[in-house]
Amino acid sequence: MGLFSWNWSAADSLPGKECRFYKTLFDGQVQCRLCPRKCIVAEGKRGTCGIRENRGGKLYLITYGKPCSLGVEPIEKAPFFHFMPGHRRLVLATVGCVLRCRFCQNWQISQAEFEKVPYMELSPEQIVAVALKQKVQSICFTFSEPVVFYEYMYDVAKLAHEHGLKTSMVSSGYIEREPLLELLKVLDAVKIDLKGFTEKFYEEMAAADLPPILDTIKTVKKSGKWLEIVNLVVPGHNDDPKDMERMCRWIKENVGADTPVHFTRFFPEYKLKSVPPTPVATLVRAYGIARAAGLRYVYVGNVPGHPMENTSCPRCGKTLIERQGFQVRKNSLKKSGCPYCGEKLRGLW
């Protein structure tokens, strides 16, 4: 790998780490309390995520210290547009996910069996050391579903904070309230993939349900941590203007007009091989709906060069941050203010 060498050895080469949120049941079974699935896991079995295993009546995170992805990338790729624009982050992921999205971009690790994927052996101390050596400004937990490697993420994030690094998570938001509140203590920014705004979409396309995700979004906002929301617009599946309008209104009413919302373009991916890419007009329409709903920071994504990928002042409309793909071409913000009208823009600048 780029920074460390791969290990192809079997899953039981390391013991993993005991999970923090689970309950012991009878007959050696345990119930995971990390995500809303609340899997009941029998002895020797794993939860839906594929990486939390019942060993002798105790639940273990088997990917603790075993990331399969580690690299340095711009924060815009997440996309995070109001979180220290242009900075480089260390990205980190292990195998596993509780959702079954048919359009997953990282299905090779999110849907894979742990034993089929090579990994590196890196303790939280080593991860932070890498981050410092690479001179990144933050560590970002992303690619698969960071919630499922909770304990590892928590320990890395805690240590990162101790070393002055920022931390962020890119997640579906499928997590219980208690572990989330605990986690937010060590995170600075959270990006939630709000995949759609109907129960039907979540059920059919992701094998999940919507209410817990909305709860997560509200909890993140209440915690004061920086929140951005991404909605991947899949043609024919979640592009109904009425649903988009409901979603935007909900966002404004529950987490405020200052929460950045990204409508990103879908390209045929994973199981949705024959679904056309999202028409740019659909994204522009979504942008219009969001702005009409009162949201102040709305973006169109995966359309490089589109003016709606730039950050504009919500008051005077001047372009303040110009982007080209994942790069920040120009940043005119003065501290957090618009140099033209003085408006303060929300974000972690």
Partner: protein, 761 residues
């Protein structure tokens, strides 16, 4: 007591014509449904093997079942007509159901299907037509037996039915597909079938089936009105709408190369070839187009002449034209695709294709690269990943050698493969590895630029490996190129050492087993298919991924064990010998067909155009040989002739790869080579077809079970041979495996036959 047809009454329709129609309608149904099935399978070629396997299996089951149930029927004409009418009626229904397959399978609109689901649904959809069609073969034999008691109908039925298949292949490929939609074809075929139902019933004057006769006559009279009236249009449109729910289907046509569909939505046109997204306008995949154009062209100090092979329209050409190029040759195979682009032109596509510097060539990219007179500063492979034999032709070692000859000094080749900065699994790593090894074996320098899509640059200029991001950024600035995605920062990120090291880390564990991607050993296709199945059918994906364990010595060992076991269990004059040999012949016959198509595809790239002709000539050989052997009457020693054919098949199998290699390296003109392909098809068809009537003489099993054995061998040949042996072992070793199989069946027959006094000779 059985009544017999009055020999004094001349038959209204010759029996041979009934068989011809039987063969023709079977093939028409097969080709039409296969093409539609391929669209639902998003162009995945694995579907072809699964489809053909399912079809043969069902035909075989239908034949066997009919032989059991109606082998002694006293009313064979009525039964035949009833089944033919059922086939005619169910064929359009099967077509409609195929277009609704995603819905039936519970898949989301636009979702692909895995191998297991495809096999299941191929069997389910084809059962209503494959079973009746197989039954008709057995019933035709019974019909003939009753008309001419004592005469063996096997050669006649097999021969004329096969000739019908030949006629169907030619008619479909060269006349019907370019002119009619799929519903019109199957309805017209159904009308023909119903007409012949009437003929069969009228012909058998000793059988009285007035109701059936009226029903068939009415249906036959109605079907043309449906086929050529508004009902056809509404069936076509209705089923296409269900195939693409929620989308506006602006264009849906079949060319000889495949299906082209255009979906429109909110000003965007999406062009799909065989159900797979091939181009989007007016806003393309900007990231992909910019990276594939600018990374290679910025790596060249002065690109003036550029060759783009496939996938150029809707994005890539626009980016290429931003450089100071003087000439861009763009080769695109399917004229219908270009026609669709022109019909739904956006400023993007119109600007690209009408630019005076661009010359569009309606030809296969590989052939263009072979025959083009010019030399280029850059050759860019714009077509997608090598997930089919067609697309793989631009990613093999042989192609890279060809491309190298087309490059000017300092020129470079560029292509892309699936990548990921997060993780590259074993299948994708193997795919990247086998193609990279093929390029590295030809060029002095082959440089991967890993990312979410991996871009590869190859050149004989070793300086290519050392070009830095700064140089590319400087050239971008000097050429005043405006981009949406590729800028100095992105170039710097793209060329960071961390990605190269990570990429090497992904490839290291698979490099040994991934192989080198070759024309006749398309490793990339098997890795791409394994990748596909990892998404949809993880179990099938694992099976394909572990296919590397299949080797020729292992197959030989398995065959040896099977032979010893068969010999240990045999009885004297074993009745299993001829059926087993026939099944083995069915297997190698299917393997020959697929190997010939495979080799033709590798060399010429337009096998879809020629597939009908190649298969038809193969069938013609089989039919002619079957008829000839059948007409000889009592071959004096059927056993010896059978054994001779066994030996001939073994020798032919072993010689085939040598002939292919000679053809590939031969400097003779294309038409001579193509003639040689047709001759090979004819010879392989004749060798396999001649055995059937001999087996009928040798075995007491009867025509229907023997035909079922032949088809069952064909099933295995399609699934195991076509989908596994050919891609995994490559052409040469797969043919050698066929030779070993025939040697085994020859030994089995030699030991089992009482050669001098075979049962029926």
């Amino acid at each position: 007591m059985a009544r017999r047809a009055d020999p004094g009454v001349p038959a209204l329709i010759p029996f041979a014509l009934i068989l011809l129609v039987l063969g023709l309608s079977g093939l028409a149904g097969q080709i039409v449904l296969l093409r539609e099935f391929l669209v639902v399978a998003s162009g995945n070629e694995l579907a072809i093997g699964l489809f053909l396997g399912a079809w043969l299996l069902l035909e075989s089951a239908g034949c066997l079942l009919a032989g059991r149930l109606w082998g002694r029927s006293q009313r064979p004409a009525a039964v035949f007509a009833a089944w033919q009418a059922a086939f005619a009626a169910l064929l359009p229904a099967a077509l409609y159901a195929t277009r609704c397959l995603r819905e039936l399978a519970g898949a989301a609109p636009g979702e692909g299907l895995g191998a297991a689901a495809l096999l299941f649904w191929a069997l389910a959809l084809l059962a209503p037509v494959g079973l009746p069609h197989g039954a008709l073969f057995a019933l035709a034999g019974r019909l003939r037996e009753r008309e001419r008691p004592g005469a063996s109908p096997a050669g006649l039925v097999y021969g004329w039915e096969t000739l019908g298949t030949l006629a169907g292949g030619l008619l479909l490929t060269f006349w019907l597909i370019p002119r009619w939609d799929s519903f019109r074809i199957v309805l017209a075929v159904g009308a023909l079938d119903l007409l012949f139902c009437v003929a069969v019933l009228l012909r058998a004057r000793d059988e009285r089936s007035p109701r059936l006769l009226v029903l068939c006559a009415l249906a036959a009279a109605t079907a043309p009105f449906i086929a050529f009236g508004p009902a056809d249009e509404s069936l076509h449109r209705g089923s296409v709408r269900r195939q693409w729910p929620g989308a506006e289907v602006a264009f849906y046509e079949n060319s000889v190369y495949g299906n082209i569909t255009v979906l429109r939505s909110e000003g965007q046109a999406t062009f799909l070839t065989d159900g797979k997204v091939a181009a989007v306008s007016p806003v393309p995949d900007i990231e992909a187009a910019e990276e594939l154009a600018h990374l290679p062209l910025l790596s060249h100090p002065r690109p003036e002449a550029v060759l783009v092979l496939g996938g150029g329209a809707a994005g890539l050409l626009r980016e290429v034209l931003k450089h100071p190029v003087r000439r861009v040759d763009y080769a695109e195979l399917d004229p219908l695709f270009l026609e669709a682009l022109a019909r739904f032109a956006a400023p993007l596509t119109a600007g690209e294709l009408q630019d005076p510097r661009v010359r569009v060539h309606r030809v296969d990219g590989r052939l263009f690269a072979r025959d083009a007179a010019g030399r280029y500063d850059a050759v860019i492979v714009g077509s997608g990943e090598p997930d089919s034999l067609q697309s793989n032709r631009l990613f093999t070692r042989e192609f890279f050698a060809l491309a190298r000859r087309r490059l000017k000094p300092g020129g470079l080749l560029a292509f892309s493969l699936p990548g990921s900065t997060a993780f590259l699994d074993r299948n994708r790593a193997s795919l990247n590895s086998c193609v990279l090894q093929a390029a590295a074996g030809v060029f002095a320098a082959a440089r991967p630029i890993p990312g979410d899509t991996n871009i590869f640059l190859a050149s004989d200029d070793p300086a290519l490996s050392g070009i830095a991001a700064g140089t590319l950024a400087r050239r971008l600035r000097q050429r005043r190129i405006r981009t949406g995605f590729v800028g100095p920062g992105q170039l710097s990120l793209r060329l960071e050492e961390q990605w190269t090291r990570q990429f090497q880390g992904f490839l290291a564990p698979v490099a040994g087993g991934a192989g080198v991607n070759r024309d006749f050993n398309p490793r990339a296709v098997i890795h791409a298919l394994a990748d596909w199945n990892a998404m949809f059918s993880p179990a099938a994906g694992r099976l394909l991924a572990s296919a590397e364990a299949v080797t020729l010595p292992r197959l030989a060992a398995v065959l040896a064990v099977a032979l010893l076991a068969a010999l240990a269990w045999r009885r004297r004059s074993s009745p299993a010998a001829a059926p087993a040999a026939l099944a083995a012949t069915g297997f190698v016959g299917m393997l020959y067909s697929m190997a010939l198509i495979f080799a033709f595809q590798a060399l010429y790239g337009y096998a879809y155009l020629w597939v009908g002709l190649l298969v038809s000539v193969f069938m013609a050989g089989a039919a002619a040989a079957s008829l000839a052997v059948g007409a000889v009457g009592a071959v004096r020693s059927a056993g010896r002739a059978f054994l001779f054919l066994e030996a001939a098949l073994a020798v032919f199998s072993a010689a085939l790869p040598v002939v292919f290699e000679m053809l590939a390296g031969s400097p003779v003109p294309d038409n001579v080579l193509q003639g040689a392909f047709l001759a090979l098809c004819l010879a392989s068809g004749a060798l396999t077809g001649a055995q059937f009537p001999l087996a009928c003489r040798l075995s007491r099993a009867g025509m229907a079970p023997l035909y079922a054995c032949d088809l069952a061998g064909g099933v295995l040949g399609a699934v195991f041979g076509g989908a596994l042996l050919l891609p995994v072992l490559g052409l040469a070793q797969a043919c050698l495996a066929a030779a070993l199989l025939k040697v085994a069946s020859l030994v089995f027959c030699l030991v089992s036959f009482k050669v001098e006094s075979s049962p029926k000779s």
